[in-house]
């Protein structure tokens, strides 16, 4: 019975020993949805040695935090996460489940929906309640069409949601909530996967583009690997990350983990500065939901200008240097 399913559940991912920022973004949005539906909001944290972190979701709006803490959950393995989370969701019976649309969430999430035989909507960029219905909004056809999806007769309704489409609220450490330790049910786990090696290609200390609020991105026009140093200086001043177009990755100037676009990472930061990027459709698909887009390019006809809020035509090295200089004045650095 559909009416047996109550409340909203956000799946909280733990990555490199920390709760991923997207988790708090989803909790913030889910709080709003839960208030509209007059229902409760829970989070389940899955990982190893979660301890004190378990309280954090409460500060962002969760009423209850379920903790699945086990050494089997580190490193992450899709067949373990999907089987254990499916069992947990089946027991909790939430009406809505939100999963981060990270590489991991998009790997284990669909298996949960198949195992529970329910509807799932991928990679949502917005969520809403309309006439009591949970509406999942997502782009399709390379971002050329938006679709509103709903799940009339199946529960739970599951959605993966892109990082950075919602803003996390400021944490309120005085909020009260309940932390509940859950015993993971491994009965459906048939482990055939071994993680042999985990390799990080982002520069140590550098921000990851999927979590950054500001991205300074470079393409062919940057000219060389060394040319990206200037972009990094600008990104550092803005507290942001350095991204790259596919060409810049192909040329070996930046690692694949910095690639924005259809075959890379989709980003939607507050500010995206595209330097020497012409703006192929594959690149634009990956960044056009950024709140403010600034394009710097020597070619006045570059397609990137057609989607930019601001553009400067000219030499990118000179322009970025001016940008850095003016920013330092404003930031008193």
């Amino acid at each position: 019975m559909i009416s047996d399913y109550k409340g909203i559940l956000v799946i909280g991912e733990i990555y490199d020993g920390k709760i991923r920022p997207v988790t708090f973004q989803l909790i913030t949005k889910a709080r709003e949805l839960a208030d509209t539906l007059n229902t409760s909001l829970s989070t389940v944290l899955i990982g190893n040695n979660i301890n004190e972190m378990a309280k954090e979701p409460i500060y962002y709006g969760a009423d209850k935090v379920y903790v699945l803490d086990n050494k089997m959950f580190d490193p992450y393995i899709a067949e373990v996460y999907s089987a254990v989370l499916a069992k947990f969701i089946d027991k909790l019976k939430p009406e809505i489940v939100l999963i981060p649309a990270t590489h991991t969430g998009r790997e284990y999430g669909p298996r949960i929906a198949a195992s529970l035989q329910t509807g799932m909507t991928a990679d949502c960029t917005d969520l809403a309640i309309k006439n009591g219905r949970f509406i999942q909004i997502r782009p399709a056809y390379g971002g050329n069409i938006m679709g509103e999806i709903f799940t009339p007769n199946h529960r739970p309704q599951i959605a993966t949601v892109r990082p950075n489409v919602f803003k996390a609220r400021d944490p309120d450490t005085s909020r009260n909530g309940e932390v509940i330790k859950e015993e993971p049910d491994f009965s459906n786990v048939n482990l055939r996967t071994v993680i042999k090696e985990i390799v990080k290609t982002t520069v140590t200390g550098a921000k990851k583009i999927d979590e950054a609020k500001v991205i300074v991105s470079g393409g062919r026009g940057v000219g060389s690997k060394e040319g990206f140093e200037l972009l990094r200086q600008l990104a550092d001043l803005l507290g942001g990350a350095v991204g790259a177009s596919r060409v810049a990755v192909d040329l070996g100037w930046m690692p694949k983990s910095a690639q924005v676009g259809q075959s890379g990472i989709t980003v939607s930061p507050d500010l995206y500065i595209a330097c020497g990027i012409s703006g192929t459709i594959q690149h634009i698909v990956g960044m056009k939901d950024s709140k403010i887009i600034v394009a710097i390019n020597k070619d006045p006809n570059a397609p990137i200008f057609n989607i930019a809020d601001f553009g400067i035509v000219g030499d990118l090295h000179e322009i970025i240097s001016v940008f850095i200089e003016e920013l330092k004045k404003v930031l008193n650095k």
């Binding site: 790997e107 050329n144 509103e148 999806i149 799940t151 993680i195 990080k200 983990s257 601001f310 940008f323």
Partner: protein
Amino acid sequence: MKILVLVKQVPDTSEVKFNENGVMIREGLQSILNVFDQFAVEEALRIREKYGGEVSVMTLAPEQAKSALQKCLALGADKAYHISDRAFGGSDTLATSYALSLAIKKVGEFDLIMAGNQATDGDTGHIGPQVAQFLGLPHVSYVEKVESIDGDKALVKSLMEDGYRMVEVKLPALFACIPPTTFEYSNPSMSGIIKAKNKPYIWFKADDIDGDKSRFGLNGSPTRVLKMYPPPKRSRGEIFTGDYHEAVKKIIDVLKEKKVIS
């Protein structure tokens, strides 16, 4: 090594045109083999070359998708399975995955199932993981390379946002593949196109696969599309061509106003 690759024909969204109201014009869009799937097919052919065996391809789609399967055969795949029936109309990803998993069971055992990580039209990335779930197989998404196969174990490189992981999986397994940036797509050779015409091409109707028919097509699809509309249009903003300092100052003022910098 018996390998199956799941493929999809998609409209070429890199060539999209819009009418004056900003609505995508769907007519006249060319149909192509999803690029993620083509990479999976080419990766499967490389595995066959190295370890021997047979590469089959499968799609669940209307008849017109034959050209996509034929392209796979022309590239070197050995056999094609085309599941096509009105009963599958309106399938969402769950109903599609379910029907594909039944068809795979009907065809027989495979050591390796491959698929594109996502299709460029729907972009859900659901099919690979869900087919694996229905078949009770392990799977890995974002697979950029099948590094090696040793007995019943495969080692694959799977991309993460901040790097990659080397993952060892016991076969049979499913890998959802994503092309490396340097990947160059092959075009079928003339002799490949000619040979493709004589390769086995097997059609399946809904009645040919055993399963719960109430889970096919629109009736078997939990999700519904409420409406579709063009995305909020981003329009060309202010483009500066003169003094860099003046331009940068103006932009910084707006960034301050919007609280991007403080």
